[in-house]
Amino acid sequence: SGSGLQIKLIGRARAGSGFNTRGVLAMRWSRYNPYYLEPEVRKEVYDKPETELSDEEKEEQSLKALRPIKAATNSVTSSVFHDPVISKFINMMMKHGNKVLAREIMTETLELIKRKQVEKYHKAPEGKREEIECNPYAIFHQALDNCKPVVGLTSIQKGGKYYQVPVPLTDNRRRFLAMKWMITECRENKHRRTHMYEKLSQELMAASMKEGNVFKKKIELHKMAEANRAYAHYRWW
């Protein structure tokens, strides 16, 4: 399907090209000329008045009037509810391109987290009510932040042997590891007859409270890195 998406319908000589059978021309995953600029989806950028723009931003804007711009993907929106972290998580959960199912699971997870938190809120006494976080997005972000490892371990060869060396990770790598651990934990280590959204909500709420298997996995990675801190000098970058 990858090569099929890149073929444009040119000329009548192609069989079945009497009309556009796809409905839309599949342009996004064909390779754009590097001349094309990325689309700017965020509304805040366009709300800024002219006076507040710095020189570089003014240059960029004048460039956008002249250069062609790539088509935006289906997954980006300029709505207030668009969250790139959640989009990334949905993409990582997706299997066989079934984005609809992955999004369903994500919305059900957030709804279930909200329900549980609201239940706790109503059951709690007056004094404790402010501490209960009801926003599922806040819980999701807190859980991911709690699961992000600070350092990772890489295999470095020195003198014929391989050592596990503690190494600082980039932000993207840390976020990826947190999400990957969360998803694999929910897929593999839970009872098979529970729905994914139930498993995810349990694990996310536990991680936001700094409990649960994913948090434990992160702490174990930190412990391993601490145990191997003597090999930190084997790094050369």
Binding site: V150, P168, R229, A232, W236
Partner: protein, 122 residues
């Protein structure tokens, strides 16, 4: 400047090859022609960055039994150090001239490819 010394150099080489004045100094098994590329340098092995911050943070972890909320200051120091190191790495990657005003091996190779030694006269 290489062109002026070029003829003298060629004469010196031909004197080394000829058998008129005793045994020849050079007996090459391949034609004496330069290659159209330069060998690339081994990138210099740097040192591990941010080791002090890393060790301080890990000592703090060990003390507090890996509870991260108590070590926030050390972790912030570590992150800032890592950010600086990554920024400096990015800056050094795109450097065009080596020290001494010379070209990088990549640039030299592109130039030599554009003007290779002529193998045939046609």
């Amino acid at each position: 400047m290489a062109a002026q010394g070029g003829i003298l150099f060629q004469e010196k080489v031909s004197r080394m090859l000829c058998k008129q004045n005793g045994k020849p100094v050079l007996k090459p098994n391949k034609p004496l022609v330069l290659k159209d590329s330069v060998t690339s340098r081994k990138p210099k092995k740097g040192e591990a960055t941010c080791i002090t911050e890393l060790s301080v943070m890990m000592a703090c972890w060990k003390q507090n039994n890996f509870v991260e909320s108590l070590c926030s200051k050390e972790m912030d120091d570590f992150y800032s150090c890592v950010g600086k190191a990554q920024a400096s790495m990015k800056n050094t990657l795109g450097e065009t001239t080596l020290q001494g005003g010379r070209l990088t091996p990549k640039q030299t190779n592109t130039l030599l490819k554009r003007h290779p030694t002529l193998r045939f006269e046609i």
